[in-house]
Amino acid sequence: MNNILNQIGIENYIFLSVLLFCIGVFGVLYRRNAIIVFMSIEIMLNAVNLLFVAFSTYHQDAEGQVFVFFSMAVAAAEVAVGLAILVSVYRNLGSIDIDNLKNLKG
């Protein structure tokens, strides 16, 4: 298992991460439900983390994995704050359709 990238190849992981990231972008643009938009953001974060770990193995360096650890901490905080904002939006508007959030629009 030590020479994993000789057997799989870094290109395959690049393709996988790019496709996963683009699926996340597609979800943000395609859906109106704000919770699904949050899930798409999580998918994008995970795609980037996967590429970090792949290149950490490629360069045989532990710092990429440490960075993924910090990125997970930030993602956890982001999801908690975002869902709290969604709950208060739902209390005020009665729906979480992102096309209804026009209160800041002049």
Binding site: Q60, L83, L86
Partner: protein, 171 residues
């Protein structure tokens, strides 16, 4: 074709299909379940890299904490119904075009940067065991580690403030 390559293709197919179904399914609860499957297959990718620490932390944080948070929010707001209106057709078409163009551009960038990447050489020394990661985390990255704990504390206080019900001031 080696067996590791077959495992990789299998896991990748699960990851991509689950991520797509997360976005495509209409019921938010089904989306959350597909997202759990996607996260578990990404943890499988980490295990394939022999990154045990990250695989365990990924399962605990994402499949445990974040998914429970999502499911609680969906059920709290009673959203498990399929009455979402679609975006206008031109917006959906634009989303598909953006998906294709972004994929092509990113793949081209990464493949063309292959020349400055350097070679992959297996040194054979240990670089990703939990012991090594702990040493790196608590020596070189001591200050960011403490800042991460402050970030989580501030996020917790902010969440409590945000989701507290405001008292109505009618007497």
């Amino acid at each position: 074709m080696s067996s590791i390559l077959i495992i990789f293709y299998f896991l990748s197919a699960i990851t991509l299909a689950a991520a797509f179904l997360t976005i495509y399914s209409k019921n938010p609860i089904h989306s959350a379940i597909y997202l759990v499957i996607c996260f578990f297959s990404i943890a499988g990718h980490y295990l394939l890299f022999n990154a045990q620490f990250l695989a365990i932390v990924h399962i605990i944080v994402y499949s445990g904490a974040i998914m429970v948070l999502f499911l609680f929010t969906i059920m709290l707001m009673n959203l498990n119904k399929e009455d979402e209106v679609h975006k206008p057709r031109i917006t959906r078409l634009g989303a598909i075009v953006v998906f294709i163009i972004t994929s092509i551009v990113l793949i081209t960038i990464f493949i063309n940067s292959k020349t400055i990447l350097g070679d992959y050489d297996v040194s054979g020394e240990d670089f990703q065991s939990i012991r090594k990661l702990g040493t790196v985390l608590l020596n070189e990255y001591m200050v960011p580690f403490e800042f991460a704990s402050i970030l989580l504390l501030v996020a917790m206080i902010g969440v409590v403030l945000l989701s507290k019900k405001e008292k109505t001031e009618q007497k």
